[in-house]
């Protein structure tokens, strides 16, 4: 067993180059995902969590651009790759599942056609083999009567079914890494449970590394091994699920956790974080969370490097795990 992580991202900076100026969507994002590991990437709208997924997958389109940093897949640098080389990786070694399968599946092509295209994009195989692999993939994600579904159009399936098809297509080439961007957000609770259970099982059985992007802390609490919390384009805290959720170090993480209604708190006022996330064009100096932070002090106006606190990393000079002087 080598110890090379499936994905290693170091100091990734992504910007949108607009006529009005450069908008820094990601700043110094670093993450590592190992084989069979599930990383929950959590943040609110505009925190940069989806842009992180797009950057890794090479799906950014102008004016978005990776400015600097390194993305390594099994130790191989992929940031400098051309679009043709990225195309060979995407769907093959890195796959993505999006929030809305109605947007990602082509509405005028039958499911079987779309699976054939996905298979033939990376393999030279005959019709019989295509059919066998498609059926196996649909069967594996628990779609009843897969033969009929191959002939169905996406609109003929329910939302949960469509998301299963999207998962099946993502897993066709047994990728090393799956990036799932809010895949259950649009689904009902019972259907969400089905998709969670499915993804969990497939990743465990195959050792696929998974990045689960979501705004819902509770979802990642259930499935992730580690959590990275993003705020205004930066990762502010990263660690094991238990560390981050039970003993958050960053005040923003604490605020997020307290904002979630939890059991046994009926009727009590929720702890709320005052204000809202600043616009990326107008970030305060130093820590971006400073204006909303109850622990803010003068030192917070300085740039905040990522600090190692044992098994976790936090971008805060006054973390909750340390008593204030």
């Amino acid at each position: 067993m080598t110890d090379v992580p499936v994905l290693q991202v170091d100091d990734l900076n992504t910007s949108f180059l607009l006529t009005a100026g450069e908008v820094k969507a990601l700043r110094d994002v670093s993450l590592t995902v190992h084989r069979g590991e599930i990383l929950g990437l959590v943040g609110e709208s505009g925190s940069g969590k989806s842009i992180t997924g797009f950057s890794i997958n090479g799906l950014l389109s102008p004016p978005g651009q990776v400015m600097s940093g390194s993305i390594r897949l099994h130790g191989d640098e992929i940031t400098g790759l051309g679009s043709e080389q990225m195309r060979r990786l995407r769907g093959n070694r890195i796959a993505m599942v999006f929030q809305d399968p109605m947007m990602t599946l082509n509405p005028v092509l039958k499911i079987g056609h779309q699976m054939r295209d996905a298979l033939r994009a990376h393999m030279r195989i005959g019709d019989r083999e295509v059919r066998a692999r498609s059926l196996a993939a649909l069967h594996e994600v628990g779609i009843p009567s897969p033969e009929d579904r191959l002939l169905a159009y996406p609109h003929q399936l329910s939302g949960g079914m469509r998301q299963r098809v999207a998962v099946a297509i993502a897993l066709l080439h047994e990728p090393d890494l799956v990036i799932a961007d809010e895949p259950t957000t649009a689904l009902d609770v019972t259907i969400q449970g089905q998709i969670l259970s499915l993804v969990q099982r497939l990743c465990r059985d195959r050792g696929t590394a998974l990045i689960w992007i979501t705004h819902d802390l509770a979802v990642v609490a259930g499935i992730a091994d580690r959590i990275a919390v993003m705020y205004a384009g930066r990762i502010v805290e990263e660690g094991t699920v238990d560390d981050v959720l039970d003993r958050p170090a960053h005040p923003y993480t604490r605020g997020l956790i307290d904002s979630v209604p939890s059991r046994g708190q009926r009727g009590r006022r929720l702890q709320q974080i005052p204000g809202r996330m600043p616009a990326l064009t107008d970030l305060p100096e130093g820590c971006s969370f400073r204006p909303r932070c109850p622990r803010a002090a003068d030192a917070c106006a300085q740039p905040q490097p990522m600090r190692d606190l044992g098994a976790r990393r936090v971008r805060c000079c006054r973390p909750l795990t340390e008593a204030l002087a």
């Binding site: 449970g193 259970s197 209604p261 009926r266 929720l270 709320q272």
Partner: protein, 337 residues
């Protein structure tokens, strides 16, 4: 002391069916199939006391929004009646609704003053002279700086827009607010702010809420009574703490157990099987039977009536057995070591 403000009696709402004259003629001549009838809400009854919060939960297509729209008076019921006991004076319009999407529920061509001020002006709740002060007071109460009163809705963030929606609803001094997924589109930290605002307003104005949401965590936090719907029918209704502590209906149990929670780690999800059936062609008997691990022959044949089971009402033939069964059913989530 109970003080019922809202009484819903046997309300049913159907969609589709008749069609226009041509469609009916064609159907009669056998040239077209008659339009299918969807029973979106099927014989729903309950009463709600003043100052209380009713949480309506259920998945897509269960009829919760249709029920909310009927309560708000936006949609007439096909059968049954909705009675509101408006109490003291000063309430121009007793019911108001707050919608999920603050982007589509506010007219983008209007300024905040017009959005909030139009209804009280039309209904002559405030005279012209007092209007500005009235609008400012509402905005301030809902957490919007009155200094931005001349801006358009699109210049605000989602959370701010939802505050404008709430201010607009409050402007006509309602007694009942129907909030249909009012916090679902918001980020977590903003959602907490809006939930707190809802609770503050209830205490301050003695409002009664019908709070519709698919998010059980939110509903558990805010509601006094929970009403669980499945394919148009009420499957369980009762005090929130009872329903959450000891759900009597297997569907309620599946919903509650299936919700991801912060304190449940490394869960192995073993979810309830199957899709939500189409309301056009619902299953026979108990609508939930195809997905229910406890289902027996009786469930396939006979529709269970909503009946008193301990402190709650549940529509399940075997509610007592399920509530009392100690063993965990095979779904929906079991904790691993």
């Amino acid at each position: 002391m109970t003080d019922p403000i809202l009484r819903v009696e046997g309300v049913t709402r159907r969609f589709g069916g008749r069609g226009d004259l041509v469609a009916r003629l064609l159907a009669r001549l056998g040239l077209a199939r008659p339009k299918p009838v969807v029973t979106a809400v099927d014989d729903v009854s309950f009463t709600l006391d003043r100052g209380k919060v009713l949480g309506v939960v259920g998945e897509s297509g269960c009829g919760k929004s249709t029920l909310g729209r009927m309560i708000a008076g936006l949609l007439p019921p096909s059968e049954g009646g909705i009675h509101v006991a408006t109490g003291d004076t000063g309430h121009a319009l007793p019911m108001q609704m707050i919608f999920q999407d603050p982007f589509s529920s506010l007219n983008p061509r209007k300024r905040v003053t017009d959005l909030v001020g139009e209804a009280p002006r039309v209904h002559r709740i405030v005279d012209r002279a007092g209007m500005d002060a009235y609008i400012d007071g509402l905005m301030e109460r809902c957490g919007i700086d009155p200094g931005v009163r001349d801006r358009f809705a699109h210049q605000f963030s989602g959370g701010q827009r939802q505050r404008i929606g709430i201010a607009r609803a409050l402007a006509v001094k309602p007694e009942i607010l129907v909030a249909d997924e009012a916090v679902s589109a918001l980020d977590v930290s903003i959602q907490a702010q809006i939930i707190n605002l809802f609770m503050d307003l209830r205490d301050e104005f003695g409002l009664t809420y019908v709070f519709i949401s698919h998010d059980l965590g939110v509903v558990e936090h805010i509601a006094d009574t929970i009403l669980v719907m499945y394919l148009g029918r009420v499957v369980e209704i009762g005090p929130a703490e009872e329903v959450f502590a000891r759900p009597r209906h297997p569907y309620t149990r599946a919903l509650i157990e299936g919700v991801p929670r912060l304190d449940r780690r490394r869960v192995v999800y073993a979810p309830v099987e199957g899709d939500i059936p189409s309301p056009i062609d619902p299953p026979s008997g108990c609508h939930f039977h195809p997905r229910c691990p406890f289902a027996q022959d009786r469930c396939r044949a006979e529709r269970p009536a909503l009946r008193q089971v301990g402190p709650v009402e549940a529509a399940c033939h075997f509610a007592e057995d399920i509530a009392n069964s100690k063993e965990t059913p095979p779904w929906p989530a079991t904790q691993t070591a």
